[in-house]
């Protein structure tokens, strides 16, 4: 598939502060890419650069093979849905949708037609004559998407939806966006700090930190094979358990614990005596019958038990480190109880102690 958006060696600095550093990113046509990272990592800045709302310091941006590095936002073939939706308060929904087309001097009949089509796709026909202040949160988002849709653009950009929306509405909006992508098959770039949103929406996720992309891959890749400790720690809730140890006899060794690694598919050769981090996801710790087949068995004492309905989170200690285990909600466990556990080498991640890169 052809690339829809290409970003080449992009730099952006505000004065002496480098926000984006030599960033490269190719986004395929029709792909749903999520830019994920904690606040201040430069994800929104990158989106603004693609939209042309920020002038880049160095590098190039291509959209559909055309170099748009110096182009005005309106000439780039992008539509943008803003965090606060940014609907024009004094215009009706119809006015909001047609504003961009009027500026582009599109003939009146075509404006009508395009507005009608976008309204149909988003099911906002009954709202066309209303003002934004008379709309609910979900309706506002649909109008904001509609404003991007009527422009018949190649790429849709979504800045992170407001985190102050209640959880139910967010879930609903997420599904709406996913459905829309399946229907339209546009290229979409979506910025968020919410990993659940990223995992559920994305074809590929780019995890950013300090203006760099730490890992770019499908949600499954990122979840199962995090390329470094930062990504491993960032993705997953509750986050991964980490423990520091050494490689001895092809085993991860910490204190009395020796976890055999013959089932671990290492990227590079594991050196004898190498200091490493081991990362174990709370949901990958096995209990009950599955322990029999596990690579390593141990017993821990439940310290705090947090029932969350579908799951139960158990806080324990393993090799002198706090250790979280996620169990099925039905699993019988109480605080202070002993819990036999098993760990499979195929589900753990090993990182070099210094570089924190995956081994």
């Amino acid at each position: 598939m052809a690339n829809s958006v290409e970003i080449k060696n992009l730099d952006l600095s505000f004065g002496s502060i480098e926000v984006l550093k030599d960033l490269n990113l190719d986004i395929a046509e029709g792909e749903f890419l999520v830019l994920l990272g904690s606040s201040g990592c430069g994800k929104s800045t990158l989106l603004n650069c693609i939209a042309g709302l920020l002038e880049v310091t160095d590098g190039q941006i291509f959209i559909k093979g055309k170099n748009v590095t110096w182009a005005e936002p309106s000439d780039r073939g992008i539509g943008m849905v803003f965090q606060s939706y940014a609907l024009y308060p004094q215009m009706t929904v119809k006015g909001n949708l047609s504003f961009g087309l009027k500026n582009a001097k599109v003939p009146k009949a075509e404006i009508e037609e395009r507005v009608a089509r976008a309204a149909e796709i988003l099911q906002i026909e009954p709202l066309l004559s209303r003002k934004p202040s008379a709309l609910s949160g979900g309706q506002r988002q649909r109008v904001a998407i509609g404003r991007a849709l009527v422009r018949d653009v190649e790429v849709l950009l979504f800045d992170e939806p407001p985190s102050n929306l209640d959880a139910k509405l967010r879930l609903y909006l997420r599904v709406e966006i996913k459905r829309l992508h399946q229907q339209l098959k546009n290229t979409m770039i979506y910025v968020t700090h919410d990993q659940i949103e990223a995992m559920t929406l994305a074809d590929r996720i780019a995890i950013m930190r300090d203006g760099k992309i730490m890992q770019l891959g499908s949600p499954a890749e990122i979840y199962d094979f995090p390329m470094n400790k930062y990504v491993a720690d960032f993705i997953g809730s509750p986050s991964m358990n980490f423990s520091q140890g050494e490689i001895k006899d092809n085993c991860f060794t910490v204190g009395d614990h020796k976890i055999p690694l013959k089932n671990y598919s290492a990227k590079t050769k594991l050196n004898e005596g190498q200091s490493v981090w081991i990362g174990i996801r709370p949901e990958h710790v096995v209990v009950s019958e599955a322990i029999e087949k596990a690579d390593y068995k141990s017993t821990v004492t439940a310290d705090i038990v947090e029932p969350m309905g579908a799951d139960t989170l158990v806080w324990t200690e393993f090799a002198g480190q706090p250790f979280r285990i996620r169990l099925d909600g039905k699993f019988p466990i109480a605080s202070g109880q002993e819990l036999p556990i098993g760990i499979n080498a195929s589900t753990v991640s090993l990182f070099d102690l210094q570089s924190e890169e995956r081994l």
């Binding site: 309106s74 965090q83 940014a86 609907l87 961009g100």
Partner: protein, 319 residues
């Protein structure tokens, strides 16, 4: 169970009762009343005096209401009072003031709002420095600039005359100094720092994403200004208008310096009527003239008091 419900019924419930004549209330309203009287008394004296004839005024009871109400002083103040050789009363000054006021208010607000919009949304290299310099202007006592402006108006008037004479060699001399237009320019310039600050702060409080959305939608500098920003900022325009109308109408110093007797604004003419040294002091006419001059700002305040407060508060929230 029943015991508990009875005890809750006995205890405090509902709104806490407040005494109307508490000592705090008496203090607050008493003070307010005294201050109110203190400020309203001069106004009362003015109104009462303006409705008396001269013989009644000479009796000296300035607080007593008029025995015989006469509107003669008002008519005289408006249409007959003499300043120098003109004896057409304040009406001339009133219309001069209107001709100064309308273009000054329009021009200063138009320019300052675009200034504020550009400084808030289209930041350019050095825009912050530019803004600081502009605001600095608000802190320089403007008396310092009176003489330089006299020269500036005189010279630029001559310059314009020269340009006109290129096309029409018989054209009469064009004057900025002494004309209404010169004063309009001065008022526009001196309104700039405070109005730009007002507009910039207001436009800064408009969500930036709205501006970005309009850019993605292909609107340019003027498109965004007229179609997005302007319809959203009517309150601040009303505030600016009130500030400018009262400020320019009440101006005396610029009016007396940069105009000539024919084009004196109302305030200057009022001064000339009240401070004329020849003849009898007609206190009733003076009072009527003063009230007439003060009427425009008063009406503005009374009509838009609420909007005024709201606008000032809106501008002060951010920035």
């Amino acid at each position: 169970m029943t015991d508990a419900s009875v005890s809750t019924l006995k205890g405090p419930s509902g709104p806490k009762p407040r005494r109307v004549f508490s000592s705090t209330n008496i203090m607050i309203y008493g003070t307010l009343l005294v201050v109110c009287l203190y400020y309203l008394l001069p106004l009362y004296v003015m109104i009462v005096t303006s409705l008396k004839g001269m013989p009644e005024i000479r009796m000296g009871n300035i607080f007593s209401p008029p025995v015989e109400v006469t509107y003669e002083p008002w008519v005289k103040a408006w249409a007959e009072a003499c300043t120098g050789i003109n004896c057409d009363g304040l009406s001339r000054g009133f219309w001069n003031s209107v001709w100064i006021l309308v273009p000054s208010v329009f021009l200063s607000i138009a320019i300052a709002s675009v200034n504020g919009y550009a400084l808030a949304n289209w930041k350019f290299k050095g825009s912050e420095v530019f803004f600081t310099i502009l605001i600095f202007g608000a802190f320089i006592p403007y008396q310092v600039m009176i003489y330089p402006i006299v020269i500036l108006l005189r010279e630029s008037g001559d310059g314009i005359t020269n340009i006109i004479r290129l096309f029409d060699s018989d054209a009469s001399k064009f004057r900025l100094m002494g004309s209404v237009w010169g004063l309009v320019i001065v008022h526009t310039i001196f309104g700039m720092p405070i109005l730009t600050l007002l507009f910039r702060n207001y436009f800064t409080s408009v969500p930036e994403e709205l501006f970005k959305a309009a850019r993605v939608d292909g609107a340019g500098f003027w498109g965004i200004y007229f179609q997005i920003m302007l319809p959203m900022s009517l309150p601040i325009f009303v505030v600016a208008m009130i500030l400018q109308v009262t400020g320019i109408w009440n101006d005396f110093l610029f009016g007396v310096i940069y105009t000539k007797p024919d084009t004196y604004p109302m305030t200057v003419q009022l001064n000339n009527i009240v401070n004329s040294v020849q003849g009898v002091k007609e206190y009733n006419v003076n009072m009527a003239a003063t009230l007439l001059t003060g009427l425009v700002p008063l009406v503005i305040y009374f009509a838009s008091g609420k909007l005024f407060v709201r606008g000032i508060a809106a501008g002060a929230v951010k920035g």
